[in-house]
């Protein structure tokens, strides 16, 4: 196998082989494991994975090799095709799994079992194998056969009911709650699944045995709303819809994530900042130090007005640095690409450019969440084309060119 480690440093999951037999819901997990150094083999049906149908598309033209979604979530993986519904394909899948440390699958309740690859069978066959089963609601339970989607998971998980716009002046909501975009439940499953697999590998180091992990979009989304569940369970508090920041704009017409005194000393810093520019108006009055007073609608409106006046005298990026230099924890509402040239974020490795030789150019992707000399985030290469690594991956299993040709002839790869 050609070395994938282009950072020149061994990674924590060096030598770990992951077979990803999952649809879009499992792809972020595979990508993260690859970033940590695992060799990830993405198994697609012969025509290509359904996630290649998810947009956006390169130059807005659809096609299995043009899905930016596919590119983003399959960086660093090796791609093979396989049709497990064909006996030859199933046999080949078994051989692949015999070489694997981790299987990520998303067939849903009973899916693997129907193929004769249920947990007991897999565990007997390869006792060290760790299986992460990603499903909408879990492998059993009253909702396990229900239909899911990203929106469905975010709705049941509570992310939806807290997000959106304030009610109309008559007190009634004239807009529905607004769901987060970008398939966040798939991200949550990716993050939690990656933690779970790292934990299961630690377990395996002691016991020598793999285990099966049942992770659902529904449970992952429910893990996500800060302490809101505890606020209800302990304090009877039902979190209501709340925009992340007030509808105020800066001098250059942008939005700012202002925080108007989350904690006691913060309010003082905000007022000191306004005061520095002689724009604190009456906010230095000690009565404002009381958060209960500040929460009264008319008072809040007044604070917003003072804040709006301050914001309107500066550009968003200037306010960011002025605020932070004065201990005020604000940031501009940027779009993701607006940090490309940021002097802090870019140099920390948050972005990387990967070559796409087929289109003769490189594409920028989100990259490392951390800086570490001893444990760098591994990158690239770009996501595989359909069946790109059939020859190398299956060749390693001992299949000859003739074998591959006959598998192709019966539609098994």
């Amino acid at each position: 196998m050609e070395p994938l480690d282009i950072n020149g440093l061994a990674s924590p999951l060096e030598g770990i082989r992951v077979i990803e037999l999952a649809d879009a819901r499992g792809e972020f997990c595979g990508r993260l494991l690859g970033n940590l150094g695992a060799q990830v083999v993405k198994v697609e049906p012969p025509g290509g994975s359904s996630s290649r149908e998810i947009g956006p598309f390169y130059e807005d033209t659809e096609g299995p090799e043009r899905s930016i979604y596919w590119w983003q979530y399959n960086i660093g993986k090796q791609g093979v095709t396989l049709d497990a519904s064909k006996p030859e394909g199933l046999d080949l899948l078994g051989k692949l799994l015999d070489t694997a440390d981790v299987l990520i699958e998303s067939y849903g309740p009973g899916g693997l079992e129907k193929m004769g690859l249920g947990w007991e069978a897999l565990h007997k066959r390869n006792p060290r194998l760790i299986v992460l089963s990603v499903s909408d609601f879990g492998l059993d339970g009253p909702w396990s056969d229900y239909q899911g989607s990203d929106l469905i998971a975010l709705s049941l998980g509570g992310l939806v009911m807290t997000a959106g716009y304030p009610p109309a002046p008559d007190g009634h909501y004239d807009t529905p709650p607004i769901a987060p975009q970008m398939h966040q439940s798939w991200h949550l499953v990716g993050c939690i699944g990656t933690m779970d697999i790292l934990a299961a590998m630690a377990s395996r180091d002691h016991s020598g045995l793999g285990q099966r992990i049942d992770l659902s979009l529904h449970a992952a989304a429910n893990n996500c709303t800060e302490n809101h569940l505890s606020w209800y369970m302990i304090g009877g508090m039902i979190s209501a819809r709340k925009p992340q920041f007030p509808d105020l704009f800066t001098g250059d017409g942008k939005y700012m994530q202002v925080m108007l005194g989350l904690f006691r000393d913060e309010w003082d810093r905000v007022v000191a900042l306004y005061d520095k520019y002689d724009m604190a108006e009456d906010l230095k009055d000690p009565k404002y130090a009381d958060p209960t007073y500040r929460r009264q609608p008319a008072v809040r409106e007044h604070i917003d007005t003072v804040t709006q006046t301050f914001l309107a005298t500066h550009n968003a990026e200037d306010i960011f640095h002025i605020a932070q230099a004065n201990g005020v924890i604000w940031a501009p509402i940027r779009e993701p690409h607006e940090s490309f040239d940021d002097p802090h974020i870019g140099p920390r490795g948050n972005f990387t450019e990967l070559e796409h030789p087929e289109i003769g150019r490189s594409i920028t992707y989100a990259h490392s969440p951390w800086v570490s000399q001893q444990m760098p985030w591994r990158t690239g290469p770009r996501a595989p084309r359909v069946g790109e690594h059939n020859d190398s991956v299956y060749g390693e299993l001992g299949l000859s060119a003739d074998d591959l040709a006959s598998l192709k002839a019966v539609g098994a790869i």
């Binding site: 997000a163 769901a179 992340q244």
Partner: protein, 430 residues
């Protein structure tokens, strides 16, 4: 031999506070690592004094209330009764340690010698100012792991800048992606990065343990709260790079796959909503059947998925005229029974009291506490075929009251006797 939890035998010195720090080490505790949470009474976690608070038996049950929630410091009778803190630190050992006192530093050195990892989410320079940059930690314990998570990270011009969850989401672009196309971005209704950065924190520690086991050397990770957020912005970064186009907010509609109806529809009652997402013809046909085949569903403008996507304004209005007088859970069940992806939009009460699937998975776990009555906390979202990760951690208990485990840690672990510990407490060290 009884199988043990995955991280059994791993010891982590945990300086974390607020959600962005404490939730990461909580995951490690849930997986079986021994978390020693170090605090000092001179500067406690603000969440120790933030509502809501546990109700003591003599106070009667709490009143239900609907509010946006929020964080603000309160004058409190006890720092051990805050719901957020008592969830974040469930299963951890709690000790008091004054890191500014020379004797506190000595004790810390002794603890580091016994530990696998040190984790904090203070501002970047804090541990270094106390005399413990990674180099010093490594000198004390050559294979130590140190993961720090200041808002923007340690390396770079913003090292002294700070974040809360919303600050990190704002700078990375997450906030800009949520909202209606014709209004300002409403963003998330809570601190998404207070939950997501901790996933990366726990990943970093577990990956570093593996790296250490391979190399025998220490690992330093300069993580941040903002850094992981970029990985959660979906396709926006490569789309901008490839096509030069930004993501344009689509409200609740599906921007990248043809799905219609794909929306959140009003149901009977105040703030009662149902989500529906029909990505296939089978979903649509089942929905039409469930609605009793109203005439409009047969119109050419809704004849195909492509047509339905093109006419979503009309479609959404007609859908809502059907849903608005119906009870959301009955409707969810009616639709799901015939294969239509539908979901009640659940609030915290729904999730805790009603959701049968979370109950089936034993998502809520009751823990004990030395000051407040036993209480429920969130468990782990995944189910393991091996020993199940648990918020009871290695203490088998909920959160510790302040400095509850001083004698366990300083006495049993470091071997100090009663008189020494009393003297250290009197000197303001522990």
């Amino acid at each position: 031999m009884t199988p043990s939890l995955p991280l059994a035998g791993v010891r982590v010195l945990d300086f974390t506070w607020l959600n962005a720090g404490a939730k990461g080490t909580r995951h490690l505790s849930v997986y079986g690592a021994e978390l020693i949470h170090l605090e000092w009474k001179g500067k406690l976690d603000a969440l120790r004094t933030n509502p809501p608070f546990h109700t003591m038996p003599e106070e009667g049950p709490p009143e239900a209330n609907v509010g946006a929630g929020g964080y603000e410091a309160m004058n409190v009778a006890s720092v051990n009764r805050a719901a957020s803190f008592n969830n974040n630190h469930s299963g951890k050992w709690g000790i008091g340690l004054n890191m500014r006192h020379p004797k506190g530093k000595d004790l810390f050195r002794k603890l580091v010698k016994t530990a696998d990892a040190v984790v904090d989410n203070f501002t970047a320079a804090t541990l270094a100012d106390w005399g413990f940059p990674f180099e010093e930690l490594e000198r004390v314990k050559p294979d130590i792991i140190y993961v720090q998570s200041p808002g923007f990270g340690n390396q770079g011009p913003y090292r002294d800048y700070r974040t809360y969850g919303p600050t990190a989401a704002a700078i990375a672009g997450l906030t800009s992606q949520v909202g209606l196309p014709d209004r300002y971005p409403c963003g998330y209704g809570f601190s998404f990065m207070d939950v997501c950065a901790p996933y990366f924190n726990a990943m970093a520690v577990m990956a570093a343990l593996r790296q250490r086991n391979r190399t025998g050397k220490g690992v330093y990770v300069d993580l941040s709260q903002a850094g992981p957020a970029f990985l959660l912005t979906g396709t926006s970064i490569p789309e901008w790079s490839a096509n030069g186009t930004p993501y344009v907010r689509t409200g609740n509609r599906s921007p990248y796959s043809p799905v219609a109806p794909h929306g959140i529809y009003r149901c009977a009652g105040e703030e009662a909503w149902l989500s529906i997402a029909c990505s296939t013809e089978a979903h649509w046909q089942a929905l039409v059947e469930a609605m009793g085949r109203p005439k409009w569903t047969g119109e050419p403008r809704f004849a195909s998925l492509e047509q339905r996507c093109a006419n979503q304004d009309d479609l959404d209005g007609l859908m809502e005229s059907w849903t608005q007088d119906k009870e959301r859970y009955s409707l969810m069940e009616q639709l799901q029974k015939v294969g239509v992806p539908a979901a009640a939009c659940q609030n915290t009460r729904d999730r805790y009291e009603t959701d049968p699937q979370l109950k089936h998975r034993d998502y809520f776990v009751t823990v004990q506490h030395s000051e407040v009555p036993e209480y429920p906390v969130e468990g782990h979202p995944s189910l393991f075929s091996g020993p199940q990760p648990t918020p009871r951690g290695t203490t088998g208990w909920g959160a510790a009251v302040y400095a509850e485990h001083n004698s366990h840690v300083y006495g049993e672990l470091l071997g100090l006797d009663e008189a020494e510990m009393t003297a250290l407490a009197e000197e303001g060290v522990i």
